[in-house]
Symmetry: C4
Subunit: 193 residues, 4 copies
Amino acid sequence: MGKARLEAFSDGVIAILITIMVLEMKVPHGASLESLRPTLPTFLSYVLSFVYLGIYWNNHHHMLHMVQHVTGPMLWANLHLLFWLSLVPFVTGWMGENDFGRVPAALYGVVLLFAGTAYVILQHLIIKSQGKDSPLKRAIGNDWKGKASPVLYGLGIAGAFVHGFISLACYVTVAGIWLVPDMRIERALRADE
Amino acid sequence: MGKARLEAFSDGVIAILITIMVLEMKVPHGASLESLRPTLPTFLSYVLSFVYLGIYWNNHHHMLHMVQHVTGPMLWANLHLLFWLSLVPFVTGWMGENDFGRVPAALYGVVLLFAGTAYVILQHLIIKSQGKDSPLKRAIGNDWKGKASPVLYGLGIAGAFVHGFISLACYVTVAGIWLVPDMRIERALRADE
Amino acid sequence: MGKARLEAFSDGVIAILITIMVLEMKVPHGASLESLRPTLPTFLSYVLSFVYLGIYWNNHHHMLHMVQHVTGPMLWANLHLLFWLSLVPFVTGWMGENDFGRVPAALYGVVLLFAGTAYVILQHLIIKSQGKDSPLKRAIGNDWKGKASPVLYGLGIAGAFVHGFISLACYVTVAGIWLVPDMRIERALRADE
Amino acid sequence: MGKARLEAFSDGVIAILITIMVLEMKVPHGASLESLRPTLPTFLSYVLSFVYLGIYWNNHHHMLHMVQHVTGPMLWANLHLLFWLSLVPFVTGWMGENDFGRVPAALYGVVLLFAGTAYVILQHLIIKSQGKDSPLKRAIGNDWKGKASPVLYGLGIAGAFVHGFISLACYVTVAGIWLVPDMRIERALRADE
């Protein structure tokens, strides 16, 4: 019961974030194709952030599937995750308006890194609440994606000071490795049935 | 279960899109009736897009009715559809601000064409998952609407370079043929009961 | 089942409308109390519109309670209602920015009149679908509120051309008579239990 | 049944409020770290308001848990609470843009005070509807948090005229004492099981 409302609230926030980002793409004043060009970096940032929020929604969905009982700390860990995700439209707009400049590209990575950390904290609280033999723990296994992501975010943040496109490449790579929905959890779920 | 959350998330995104479009209609500074006139094309674009999003919500609703089991690829195909729909407020605003100019009118059609394609992909994945004798496949039948729409979008995009009103006529026609809720699915559903 | 999704979608749209209206209240640049003064008419318009949307949500809630089966035309009548409600933030902003000027005050009434008409159409479709001895028909009884509202909206629209405050008085009156939740439906429901 | 829709609507509004606040953080034009500095007070206000809305969502969640039957006055008391919460993004933006200036810092407290009062009214209506031996009444006990908060808000409002940081300290203190989820209700619930 509490879980349904937690899911609904998280879905609501993610659905709003994924949609208000598009408001950062200001309608250009001219009517020609060239007048769209300045919008292009913002559009690309938007696509990347859309994919990221889609991944978070997707994995959040899979993870909460395995929760039997929502505790107070989980509610707050979830709000903490939503907080960092709520900054995504801001850093997306800033990165897009500045053509993937150094500081904006680095800050984008910082926000992703905090969001990732918040996700890991939530995941940890759920595993802890399930006791040993936690089904979620079994499902995520060695969690190589969870370990590789902060390293790649770190590379992206550092790389921003060489060139924004290096960070972009790192962030696209992280999105790529997560884009595959979390097969491990699906497999574990199916094994349970 | 997973289906309920997919529906809720899609409904959330479409509800937000259908409402934030109205934010593109900037409140005019004057207080006279004439000061509203520049808002008129934006208003007409808003009406058209409202109808389109209403149709998508409606048909999405009917289609998901027939899904028994949500798979990973369906989740992503659904997000892909939502992505194109999320660009509707942007192109609506651009088309409205430029009095149905050529490039904006064409781009509006391009976004509709991609959204339509994304819908067909989602539909295809659902049919495939249902195996032969898929109830959804039976329900959509020869799918003449699904076949006519891309042709009309194409005409609309090409026609934009003659005059924006030609594209507008094409888009209004597509909306018209879909406005009738998908009787076929309703009929098939009733036959199943 | 279809009803749950219709409710959820309508709630979503109304929840968004009631909240984005606050975005029309632009944050003033100064930090003094006087710098807030220009925001006052917008604030008062916001309060009025918040109450209106609250009334619509409340009555919609009560009315859908009595629906057993959602039909295609009901879905569209509901979207039609949401369309007129979606224009409320726009006319609220315009009326507020122009200190209840004539044309904005009249247009506000026009949008309310259309929204009210759309509500009556939806109500009519529900009653028709319930056949004779419709519980909703019994519940609304002689519907004096439904009959008085368009008259008051009409007075408000006409009165706007004398002074915006006359319309305001009319709109506040309509809100006042509806503010009492629809006791008749509640009574009928209780009688059924 | 009515309760589910009340929860869903409230969650929707709070989810939207918590997310649109981020739109008040305007994307800066420069690309350097310094160009972010003017955004800092707005960011801090945003963090504070995010925590407040999170607390409201959390406690609202716990309180509605204990409601068996939603009455008409509860619906309106809930809308009244949502009204004051809907002003949070506005006062957050104003306080942030003016570096915690006197009037904005005081107004922020006024809105929090009204929201708190609205919450108490809703709480009171629920307790009254449960008759004597109300489980909610038992759960909140002596309600020292509910009594301390208005005092602290009052101090914050008065303190604003000395310095905005005094109010800020008061508001942070209130957030701090509520941040702990309402253990009393959880304990009472567990005792009931």
